[in-house]
Subunit: 147 residues, 2 copies
Amino acid sequence: MIDRNTVETTLKEAGYKLTNQRKAILDVLFEHQNHFLTADDIYLRTKTKYAQTNFSTIYRNLETLVKLDIIHKTNIQDDASSYELVCHNSHHHHIICKGCGKTEAIDFCPLEEFHGKIHDKNFTLTDHKFELYGYCSKCQKQNSGKE
Amino acid sequence: MIDRNTVETTLKEAGYKLTNQRKAILDVLFEHQNHFLTADDIYLRTKTKYAQTNFSTIYRNLETLVKLDIIHKTNIQDDASSYELVCHNSHHHHIICKGCGKTEAIDFCPLEEFHGKIHDKNFTLTDHKFELYGYCSKCQKQNSGKE
DNA sequence: CTTCGTGCAAAAAATTTGCATCCGT
DNA sequence: ACGGATGCAAATTTTTTGCACGAAG
């Protein structure tokens, strides 16, 4: 698990300042560990903590945090971009709830299996994505009610 | 491999008409099998075949084709949406070149392995994504030259 | 001739940027 | 005081929509 201090230290060491807006964004991210939030979500929630926060600031900071590997960015189901704190140090993947963005880390990485089976001379691999989508128990109940 | 006739039949059976714009878009997609193209790419290329083609038409048609499972949509590296003809009937995944969008199908599906190892009671899985990213032999050469 | 599809223009949504000012160190 | 960070407004980029006209079956 990552902690607040580590994150703040990482930022400082990279030459970034600890502004109130930045802190508010981190607050939001820490309050929603294991959940992907859209930029808009983060904007709205950050605003409740630091009212004058601006969308540009959010985007600029999210970009910074991604660069420093403090947060993780993905596109749930090819829609809008979502962000989540990187909570684990080791390489892992996610199960993601399409309803609420809740995530769960999974240790299994298909690449190991894959390497054993296939060797492709035409591609030099740089990275990969393995994501499972579904509904968490909570969203499942809500959905079954609707349909 | 999917063929042009099958696609046209699928469209007709679903009650869609075979317009010139639609044909031009299919031309482009068939000329770029195993490549992800952005909506913009498709727009530009379709325009050379049918000059008055409009962006709205492109988006509306891509949406239709996705719905009919004729094309596949993804976000290469969380950036813009890209589309590719679905060329294989069986379930499979992709290796995707970050340079040119070229893809290669891989038969390996990590889900089988995964199911054997992990059973998660908190999530009902609906679908998944497994994508490998890298550079194809061509783009690799170009990149090594640049940097 | 009926229904679906298209172009156009405009709106909406998502993201980025320039610049003057502000704030953390 | 210096340099990064922010707010604001405006520009871009991406995607969607309403509507009248045109075209496919």
